[in-house]
Amino acid sequence: MAEQINFIRRRQLVEPPVQAPLPPDDEPMTLRALVAAVFRWRRMLLVLGIVGALVGFVLAITKPNTYLSSGAFLVKTGGEQVQPNIFADPTKALYQPQLRSNAPKILLSGRVLRDVAERVGPEEILAPYDPPEMVVDSLLDRVKNLVFKLQSFLHADPHMPVTVDNAVEHLRENLIIETGGRDDLIEISYRANSKERAQRILATYMQVAQEVHLEVYNSPEEVEIIEENYREAGDRLKNAQLAMRVFLDSLSVQDFDLELTSNKNELRRLSVVKGTTESSVDQKKKRVGFLEAEVARQPELVDELVPEGVESAYLKSLRSQQAKYEQDLSTKLVAGYREDTSEIKQLRRRIADIEKSIEAELAKPSEDVRMVKKLVPNKRKDQLLTELNKAVSELEVDQESLVNLQRQEEELGKEIDALAAHKPHYDDLAQEVADARQAEQRAQILLDLARKKQRFAARGLSSLVLMDGASFPHDKEGPRRMVLIVGSTFGALAFGLLLITILQLTDRTVRTPDDLEAVAGIPVLAVIPRIDRKNLRRHETLRRRAGP
C-alpha cells in the first residue's frame, strides 16, 4: 500500500519543491515597515496625543499668572579691586572683571536676601496666590473665577511656615540675575504672582543690594594698612638701589652691564689689531732678510764706464729708467715674487736691454763725451743699505706695537674676568631692584584704589549704580499656556513614536508577503485578505491593477 502511495507521489510531482535552507533572521527595519507600524498603532498614538494635550491643558490652566519686574545696575569701580587677589597681575587692576563677577554672588548672598526678607516682611514675600475675583458679567467670567479658585487652591501651601528662612529661599528661587559677557550691566528681575508685589519686592531688593555692596567693600582701616605697605615697598626699593650703588662704586663702574659689554668689544678690537700687526711684522722680517742678503751679495766697488765730459740727455734718460726698473725689481722680490714669474723675468729683460742701450750709446764716438772705465763705489749697495735701515726701523716699531697690544689684551682680559666674577652678585642686586620697583608700583596702584574707595565710601556711593529701577510689569510673563499645551501634545506624540519604533524593532510577527517570503525562503502562493469590507475592497483593487 505504501509503495502504491509513494508511486503516486512520484508520478504526480514533476519535480520536488525547492526546499532551500532557511534565510537568516536579521532583516533591517525599513521605512515602509515603520510607517506601517505607525498606522497600526495609530489609535495608541491618538490616545497618547489626547492625553498629552489634556496634561498640557491642565498644567496651563492650573499654573497662575506670573509677573516679572526688572531693573538694572551698572558696575562702576569705586576702588573695590583693592580686596581681591590683585597681586596676580597688577596691570589688570584697572579693569573690573572681578568686581563684576563678584557682584552677582553678593547680590544672591544670604545677607542681602535676609535683609530684604526682614525689610519687606516674610508674609509679603510668601503671600499665597490670591487673584482678585472678577465681577461676573458673562459665563466666561464665571469660568475664569472658577479657574482662579482652582489655582489658589492648588498653590496654597498651608503647611509652609511664614519664616524669614522660607522667605529667603523663595527670594532665591524667584530672583533672576543676568550679567552680560563683558558688559558692566547687571540685569535683575523678580517673579511674583502679583504685579505690585513683584515691583515692590524688587525695589526693596535693589536698595538693600546697593547698601550691602557698599558695606562689604568698605573697611576704614584698610587705607592705613595699604599706606603702610606702600611705605615698606618704597623703603625696600631705596635699600635695593643703595646696595647697587655701593656695589658699582666698589667696582668703579657706572653701569655694570655697559662696562662689561664695552670691555668685551674692546678686547675683540684689540685681537683684530694684534692679528694685523703680527702679519705686518712677519712681512717686514722677510723684507729685512732679503735686503740683508742683497746687501751681502753686492761688492763694494764696481767697474764702470764713466763718461768724461757731458752726458747726452738720452743717456741720462736711460740711466733713470734703469734705476726705476731696478727699484721695481727689488720691491717685487721683497714682496715674495719668485724669479720664474713673468713680472720678474720682464723686469730683468728690460734692465738688460737698457744696459745694452747704455753701452751702445757710450760706444758711440761723441765729441762731448768720452767714456773711461773706472772702479767706482757700488751705488746699488748704498741704496739697498738705505732700504735695509728703513725696513729694520719699521720692523722695530711694529714689534714694539705688538708687545704693547699683547699687554693691553692681558690687562683687559683680567678686567673682564673680574667683572664676570661679580656678575651673579650684580644680577641678584638688579633682580632685587626690579622686584622692589614692581612692588612699589603695585602698592602705588592699590593705594590709589584704596583712596578712591575711601572717597566713594565717604560720599555713601556704591559701585552698583542704579541704571533702571524696578519696573511695573504690565503684562504677564507666564505661563505660556499655548506652548504648554502644544509642547505637551507633541511630547506625548514623540514618546508614542519612540514607543512604536521600539515595538517595531522588537516585532517578529509575520505581517506581509515580503515578511513571509523572507522567513520561509519559498514562494508565497496566495495572499488572502482579512474578511472585512476595507481589506477586501483594497485587495480587489490591487488585484485588478495587477492584472491576471
Binding site: 506601517a36 510577527t509 482579512r530 488585484r543
Partner: protein
C-alpha cells in the same frame, strides 16, 4: 464566482459569498497545477497545515476543495483535525460517521463520505471532537483510508491539525503529494514559523509553498504607492 463558500466568522461557520477568497483559491490551484504532470491528475493528495490553531487552514482547505470541484475535478475534502472539527456544520451534514470511525475500522471510509456537499465535492468529516487520534495513526489505517478514498476521486484535500500543537499532523502529512503551509498574518511569529518549516523539512514532506491568510492593508493607498 457565485458559489457560497464556508467562512468562519466570529467563531461560527457560515456560507458566504466572498469573491476574493474564491478567486485566490482558484489562483492557488492554477499555480499548484504547474507542479503536477497533468491539469487533471488522478488521486493527487494535497494537505493544508498551519503552525498554530486559528490560522485559517480549514477555511482555505475547504475553499480550495470547492474551487477544485467547480472545475470538474472530483474532490474529497478530508477533515483531519479532530480537536476542532467544523466542516460538517459548515456543509450542513451529520458529523458522524467520519474519519475517526474509518480509522477505528467501524465503517468503510468510502461509506463515511458525504457525497456532493458542493459541486463536485465530497466530504469526509472528522467524525468526532476532542479525540486523541495519535494512536490510530500509528498503523496503516490512515493510509488504507486514503487509498480507499482515492478510488472515485481525482483529488484529496486534507485539512490537517496544527503542526506545533498536535503531533498527528506530521503523521498525516507524510502521505501527501504536496503540502501548503497556511500562515495567518499578524498572528504567527517568525521563530514559530521557522520551526514549522524546519519540522516539515525534517519530515521530508514536499511542501510547495505558503499562503498568507487574513492579511491587512495597513498603509493608505497613497503611502503604499509612495513607499
Amino acid at each position: 464566482m457565485g458559489s457560497l463558500i464556508p467562512i468562519r466568522d466570529k467563531g461560527e461557520w457560515k456560507q458566504r459569498q466572498v469573491p476574493s477568497m474564491l478567486e485566490e483559491c482558484r489562483n492557488l490551484w492554477a499555480i499548484l497545477s504547474t507542479h503536477f504532470r497533468t491539469s487533471a491528475p488522478t488521486s493527487m493528495m494535497i494537505g493544508f497545515v498551519s503552525t498554530i490553531a486559528g490560522e485559517g487552514t480549514t477555511t482555505l482547505a475547504s475553499n480550495f476543495a470547492v474551487a477544485l470541484g467547480e472545475q470538474g475535478i472530483t474532490t474529497c475534502l478530508v477533515e483531519g483535525n479532530f480537536h476542532n472539527p467544523g466542516l460538517a456544520g459548515s456543509f450542513d451534514v451529520p458529523p458522524e460517521p467520519g474519519l475517526l470511525q474509518a480509522l477505528r475500522g467501524k465503517v468503510d471510509p468510502s461509506l463515511a463520505v458525504h457525497r456532493q456537499v458542493a459541486e463536485g465535492l465530497d466530504l469526509l468529516p472528522a467524525g468526532g471532537s476532542g479525540v486523541d487520534s495519535y494512536p490510530l495513526l500509528g498503523g496503516n489505517a490512515f493510509l488504507q483510508a486514503l487509498v480507499r478514498l482515492r478510488d472515485g476521486h481525482n483529488a484529496i484535500v486534507l485539512d490537517a491539525p496544527p503542526l506545533s500543537e498536535h503531533a498527528e499532523a506530521s503523521l498525516m502529512l507524510r502521505y501527501m503529494d504536496a503540502v501548503i503551509l497556511v500562515v495567518r498574518a499578524n498572528e504567527i511569529r517568525k521563530p514559530a514559523l521557522r520551526r514549522s518549516l524546519t519540522t516539515l523539512k525534517s519530515l521530508g514532506v514536499p511542501y510547495v509553498g505558503v499562503t498568507l491568510n487574513a492579511m491587512t492593508y495597513e498603509l493608505p493607498v497613497f503611502l503604499d504607492r509612495l513607499l
